[in-house]
């Protein structure tokens, strides 16, 4: 970086970007949590994701049955 006696405003801007980035992600996470908490959306999403994963696994599992059935 070379010089370390940089103006304080640089540090404020740099922190600012991080804070804005984190805030946006935080807002996104909060929105997700609120959405998930209402009407059981979250539980439905997780169970749907889990069920889909299991279904895919099951389809692949049973794609070629053993000769004896």
């Amino acid at each position: 970086m070379g010089r370390t006696d940089i103006p304080p405003s640089y540090g404020r801007f740099r922190n600012g970007w991080g804070v804005v980035h984190l805030s946006l992600l935080g807002f996104a996470l909060l929105a997700l949590i609120i959405w998930a908490a209402s009407n059981g959306n979250g539980a439905r999403l997780v169970s749907s994701w889990w069920a889909t994963s299991m279904r895919i696994q099951s389809v692949v599992f049973n794609l070629i049955p053993f000769p004896w059935g």
């Binding site: 006696d5 640089y10 740099r14 970007w17 991080g18 992600l25 099951s58 692949v60 794609l63 000769p67």
Partner: protein, 572 residues
């Protein structure tokens, strides 16, 4: 059964058995693959989430200097070298280039920070992938160079040599790929925030910048603010300023809102400086942009009026100036204002003049060999202030065009004071001798018309339109004029401008007056007594010409008791 049939049955049995074996193997493989698919779904999700979080942490690390790749920190030296701000400096200080100060973060350093984050993300991607490849290819690294065919052959050999590698690839590659995808999504979001935020900020910055700059320029224009150098006499509306950190020698040539700051700028030494002339003037030492002479604090942010005084040797220039300054000082003090000498050297000169005026001593001859430095006087009254710069050149400097050519302040003057000694006129000279008064006072040496010509004929020859400028003819030594028969009537009539002009014609200065009328149709004539102690309202007070100069320059500060202008019906 013959042999042929036997072989057929055995062959069919072998084929059926082989088919069954292959079937069973494929079924087993598919069961294994189904678990792998489930693992992929879970690991992709987890990898992407970890990547997203890493993408938040990475820029923080980079901008704190903890990244693996050093990024470019812009410095004031880069600004001066022209590597930061596109386009050069505009305006009066363009020849100096950019000042030695830090650029604003937006957009200059922000661009470098953005590049640094992308470079760090690329380096992290390569590093992550290299680590993953080591895990996957413990039997040998996949060749990345050579022709496609050679690389395919070599890759085949590597894969054949290490069969567990295929499983490793299936287990490691998907989560690593998801992790990197999440990382880049986060980095792109960060870049987007920086871009949008940066654009909005730059727009706000531009609007504020334009507003501040316009306000500063308009306010100063309304105040008729300018810096007039006391050494080289150059005039500028954009003074330079010294950084005020002790030991720092940096001079800032353009302390205006711009790429180096809005309200403040940061000098190379780290000192925060006000970034408008109006605010800088209250704190920093101004510097003449032409000759780098340091001026008094506040100069450049108020109206500055040159008082150029012209006249022959011993015409009474210094005495008049001293008496006028003392009268102005008294007048402003009475009105609740004040007069302050702004330089130590000027304080010495004014103190000496004040002492001589108040003790009624004769004034010393002004040194002929020195080009005069302006003496800045700050006049305050009713909350307004104006800087008068008194310029007292020796009479010898009005001997020739060459010597007056050194007095560059004459070129930019608007209101000149021509000091005329009436006692050197033939008529009054006779009367002085007749009354035995010749020894009481020095009279002007040489041709006073020549002194006038050396100043104004040169200006006219250089193409300066004198008709746009103004002149006050200050007829000095009224105390002696009062003792002479030809002057008594003039004194008792509390002389008006036209009366003084006519009297001068009568006393034999007709050719000089004719030249003055031709050059300056609106010239004013004053008769002053610089020896006595007269009140500011006295028609013979030396305050009159100063008040006239202030009025001509549209100064907000004026002398309260100055004698009212007296003119007759005739133009003059």
């Amino acid at each position: 059964m013959d042999d042929g049939l036997w072989f057929l049955v055995v062959g069919a049995a072998i084929v059926v058995a082989a088919v069954f074996v292959v079937w069973i193997i494929l079924a087993l493989l598919m069961r294994f693959f189904s678990f792998l698919v489930f693992y992929w779904v879970v690991s992709l999700t987890a990898g992407a989430l970890v990547g997203l979080i890493s993408g938040v942490v990475l820029p923080w690390r980079v901008l704190r200097g903890r990244g693996s790749i050093p990024f470019r920190q812009l410095t004031p030296q880069d600004v001066v070298a022209g590597n930061v701000i596109l386009g050069g400096v505009r305006g009066q200080s363009r020849h100096y280039g950019w000042d030695l100060a830090w650029p604003t973060y937006m957009p200059y350093q922000a661009r470098e920070d953005s590049k640094a984050v992308v470079a760090e993300a690329k380096a992290h991607t390569e590093e992550s992938w290299a680590t993953a490849r080591q895990w996957m290819m413990h039997g040998g690294a996949l060749p990345l160079t050579g022709t496609l065919k050679a690389r395919a052959l070599a890759a085949g050999k590597v894969m054949a040599a290490s069969s567990p590698t295929i499983v490793a690839v299936a287990l490691v590659a998907p989560p690593v790929a998801a992790y990197l995808a999440g990382l880049w999504v986060s980095i792109v979001v960060w870049q987007g925030i920086m871009l949008v935020g940066g654009v909005v900020w730059v727009i706000i910055q531009k609007v504020v910048l334009a507003g501040l700059k316009t306000h500063d320029v308009l306010t100063r224009r309304q105040q008729r603010a300018s810096l007039k150098c006391t050494a080289c006499y150059a005039e500028t509306t954009l003074p330079s300023y010294h950084c005020d950190r002790p030991g720092c020698r940096v001079v800032h040539r353009q302390l205006l809102p711009g790429p180096l700051g809005l309200l403040t700028r940061v000098c190379d030494c780290g000192q925060a400086l006000p970034n408008t002339i109006g605010r800088a003037a209250a704190r920093l030492t101004p510097v003449c942009p032409s000759c780098n002479t340091a001026m008094a604090i506040g100069s450049g942010n108020r109206q500055t009026i040159h008082i150029p005084v012209i006249g022959a040797v011993a015409a009474g220039k210094t005495r008049f100036l001293g008496a006028a300054v003392v009268a102005l000082e008294t007048d402003l003090a009475v009105a609740g204002g004040g007069l302050e000498v702004l330089t130590p050297a000027g304080e010495v000169v004014i103190a000496e003049l004040r002492r001589m005026i108040t003790s009624h001593q004769h004034t010393r001859k002004t040194a002929a060999e020195i080009t005069p430095a302006g003496i800045p006087l700050l006049c305050r009254r009713d909350g307004d202030e104006v800087e008068l710069q008194v310029l007292d050149a020796a009479g010898e400097q009005f001997g020739t065009w060459d010597t007056t050519g050194e007095l560059r302040y004459l070129d930019s003057g608007t209101a000149y004071l021509f000091i005329l000694d009436p006692l050197a006129l033939p008529q009054l000279g006779h009367e002085m001798r007749a009354l035995g008064l010749s020894g009481e006072v020095l009279t002007a040496e040489g041709d006073q018309a020549a002194a006038y010509g050396s100043a104004f004929d040169r200006l006219r020859a250089e193409g300066i339109d004198l008709r746009r400028r103004t002149l006050a003819v200050v007829v000095t030594k009224a105390d002696m004029v009062a003792k002479l028969p030809s002057g008594r009537d003039l004194i008792s009539s509390a002389a008006a401008s036209d009366a003084i002009r006519d009297w001068l014609i009568e006393m034999g200065a007709d050719r000089l007056v004719e030249r003055i009328v031709r050059d300056f149709p609106k010239a004013r004539y004053f008769l002053v007594d610089s020896m006595g102690t007269r009140s500011g309202s006295d028609p013979l007070s030396p305050l009159g010409p100063l008040q006239w100069a202030l009025q001509i320059n549209k100064s907000k500060v004026s002398a309260a008791q100055a004698p009212a202008a007296k003119t007759s019906g005739k133009a003059g």
